[in-house]
């Protein structure tokens, strides 16, 4: 059996990659994709603990999380589509209307 630490390390690496993408990428779609990676890192954690502690709740939770993530991506993409229509760009550095 593969030790639990391997799964957790994989999850941590994915999370950090996602966070790096969110903080550095200028393209909003790539940021959205990075967020998905972070979410899935969390899902891996859920499933890992569920499996090792023999508790099905974690897996159920992961399924929920996938469904919610799908909805979130739909909303996010719709916003970006509109943004592109109105402002002609999805570069995050140029989108800073909500400020002082």
């Amino acid at each position: 059996m593969i030790p639990m630490e391997y799964f957790l390390a994989l999850s941590a690496i994915l999370f950090v990659i996602g966070a790096y993408g969110v903080l550095t990428k200028r393209n909003a779609i790539i940021v959205l994709m990075s967020i998905e990676i972070m979410l899935n890192a969390a899902n891996i954690n859920f499933v890992t603990f569920s499996s090792y502690f023999d508790d099905v709740a974690g897996q159920v939770f992961a399924l929920f999380s996938i469904a919610v993530a799908a909805a979130e991506v739909a909303v996010g993409l719709a916003i970006l589509l509109n943004l592109n229509r109105v402002r002609g760009t999805i570069n995050l550095d140029e989108i800073h209307l909500l400020r002082w």
Partner: protein, 645 residues
């Protein structure tokens, strides 16, 4: 249920009238004047129904009705209620009868006021209500509340013609000057409350103070007397009363002669069980009274304004009452009967009648001639027969001519002061001042009467005519009271209104007592001399009135009296230099100091906000960076401190 259980209605009735006239007066005939008459009449009938049985002894002792009003703690409770004894009954009769007559008279006197009538009748109803409340109150707090309310009514009615600057400023002056007294009264009440933990008359009067309590009581009575000084226009807070004559004459008659200014005297009389324990206070009371009597009478000697003369006369007579109360209490302290108390209250009653009469007569004259300057009057006797005769009775009465009411009470006061001379010779000096005042009183009253009614017709008296019946009716009624109320002393006044022990003496004994005393003849002779001198100067003109201003010395004296001994100037200088100067300093401190600090703090915060809001730059990834950095920082801190293991 007895009729006395309805005593609370006495002040409530005029207050209902105040509401009705105040709200709907504009739609009523005479601006609600008739409503005011009906309610004050009802109040008077109720007062008489209650007061007469109390005075003739049907009700024994003190009637008290009271409920707890405020509970401050287990120890400190405040009540609201009524307290009726013989003194209350006497005041009830005086106030309710005179107010009713004055309201009736007002229908004639105020007939040209038009739209302002409802205001007048509403305010006068309010005054009657709160004055009766003041008399009936059973504790010092409610006495004080009503005390302030009568002051408010006085302010409103002095300033009734508020389009005249002089009336507006007189109202303000009356309010501010009496306020000095009111604050002293309040201090006195606070001392009583903290020392004895009650303000109810019945509890306080049962106390025999000793030691520290007695010292505090002396202080409290002194401050309470301060309230009386303000309200009853005693020296040195007397100067508001002559100015208060700017109000309508009916107001002067009711408030500034017959009732409100008596509140100070009433206060001292009501607090007598406290005062008689403090001879120091009583000595001050007597001295203030005596000084006021002669001081105010001197200013009445040469004033040309008919109402001002009466105002000074009022101050002087109030001084008599205060003097009598002081002397009576002082005498009582040394184990003698408190004759001065009976004499003072007797004079209060008589003075209320004859001074209200004199003021209403003056009002009738002013109504007819349209001026208050006596130099423009003269020869009105033939045109105004009823008024001149009524005023003659009033003048004879106040001068102390035998049989008329003023004679009896003034004589009793002087006798009481003289006998107190046995225990402290300062009272002999006060007696001397009193007797000189009696001479002055006779002189200035007849100067007034002769200048107004006798001699050649003056400029203003050409088109004069007698006042309508609604005005002369009250005059005649009051004249009857002014002539005969003094005879009450022969019918047992001293057995009803007394402090300590009643004065049991029948009519014959009193008459022999009065007419065998050389002092009586001295005061009669002085009064007659005063009348004769006035007759020679102002009627026959055998002695020219110029003798009073012929030499430089007398001329200066003349001017000094007209300038009221510089008191008005002194008040103004005090207010302008000292109070206004101090106010300016305080204002500067407020603007520079306090406002500076407050504005500085707010400016600092606004400036900080202006700069700090730039952090909010709209870059979402910037925020996310801060969040991540924050979490990492927190984790690091927790790791280093060992919480995470």
């Amino acid at each position: 249920m007895d009729i006395i259980d309805f005593a609370w209605l006495i002040p409530v009735l005029p207050l209902i009238s105040f509401l009705i006239v105040g709200l709907f007066g504009k739609r009523m005939s005479e601006g609600g004047g008739y409503v005011a008459i009906i309610f004050s009449l009802a109040s008077m009938v109720l007062s008489l129904l209650i007061a007469i049985p109390v005075l003739n002894g049907t009700y024994q002792g003190v009637y008290e009705q009271s409920v707890t009003w405020l509970v401050l703690s287990d120890e400190y409770k405040l009540d609201i209620g009524i307290y009726i004894d013989q003194l209350t009954a006497l005041m009830l009769i005086v106030v309710s009868v005179i107010s009713t007559l004055v309201v009736i008279y007002s229908i004639g006197y105020m007939d040209k006021e038009g739209e302002r009538k409802p205001r007048y009748y509403a305010e006068i109803s309010l005054f009657i209500g709160v004055m009766l409340g003041l008399i009936l109150a059973n504790n010092y707090l409610w006495l004080f509340i009503f005390w302030e309310l009568v002051g408010l009514c006085s302010y409103l009615l002095i300033g009734f013609w508020n389009h005249k600057p002089s009336a507006a400023s007189a109202a303000k002056k009356a309010f501010l000057v009496t306020r000095i007294g009111d604050i002293m009264f309040m201090i006195g009440i606070i001392i009583l409350f903290t020392t004895f933990k009650t303000l109810n008359f019945s509890d306080l009067f049962a106390i025999q103070a000793t030691g520290t309590d007695l010292e505090l009581l002396t202080l409290a009575t002194f401050f309470i007397f301060g309230g009386a000084i303000g309200k009853s226009a005693q020296f040195p807070l007397h100067d508001w009363l002559p100015d208060a004559m700017e109000g309508p004459t009916t107001v002067s008659a009711l408030i500034h002669a017959a009732t409100m200014v008596k509140a100070g005297v009433y206060l001292v009389a009501r607090s007598y069980p406290l005062f008689v324990q403090c001879p120091e206070t009583l000595l001050i009371v007597a001295i203030i009274g005596g000084v006021t009597a002669i001081f105010a009478a001197s200013m009445a000697l040469n004033n040309p304004n008919i109402k001002r003369v009466l105002a000074y006369s009022t101050i002087s007579q109030l001084g008599y009452m205060i003097l009598a109360l002081g002397a009576g209490g002082y005498f009582f302290y040394y184990g003698n009967p408190a004759d001065g108390y009976t004499a003072g209250m007797f004079h209060l009653m008589n003075h209320a009648f004859f001074k209200a009469l004199l003021f209403l007569c003056a009002g009738s004259v002013i109504h007819a001639v349209g001026t208050e300057d006596m130099r423009l009057m003269g020869g009105l006797r033939k045109k105004m027969k009823i008024t001149s005769f009524a005023m003659l009775i009033g003048a004879l009465s106040i001068s102390g001519i035998p049989i008329l009411s003023g004679f009896w009470s003034k004589d009793e006061i002087l006798a009481a002061v003289f006998e107190t001379g046995e225990v402290n010779s300062i009272f002999l000096l006060l007696w001397l001042m009193g007797i000189v005042t009696a001479f002055m009183t006779a002189f200035y009253m007849f100067r007034l009467w002769f200048m107004t009614f006798a001699g050649k017709e003056g400029e203003a008296s050409k088109h004069a005519h007698e006042s309508p019946k609604v005005m002369t009716g009250p005059l005649v009624t009051l004249a009857i009271f002014a002539a005969f109320s003094g005879l009450a002393v022969l019918f047992g006044f001293g057995q009803v209104i007394y402090f300590g022990h009643p004065h049991h003496a029948d009519a014959i004994e009193i008459l022999t007592e009065v007419f065998t005393s050389p002092l009586t003849y001295l005061s009669i002779i002085l009064a007659v001399l005063g009348v004769v001198l006035a007759y020679l100067v102002y009627c026959k003109k055998i002695i020219s009135s110029d003798v009073f201003v012929s030499s430089p010395g007398t001329k200066r004296m003349h001017k000094l009296l007209l300038d009221r001994y510089g008191f008005t100037w002194g008040y103004n200088a005090f207010a302008e230099k000292l109070v206004y100067g101090f106010a300016k300093v305080v204002d500067k401190f407020d603007q520079k100091g306090i406002d500076g600090v407050v504005n500085g703090i707010s400016n600092g915060i606004v400036g900080f906000g202006q700069r700090f809001r730039k952090v909010q730059n709209g870059m979402v990834q910037g925020y996310a960076t801060v969040v991540v950095a924050g979490i990492v920082a927190i984790l690091l801190i927790l790791y280093i401190t060992g919480v995470l293991g």
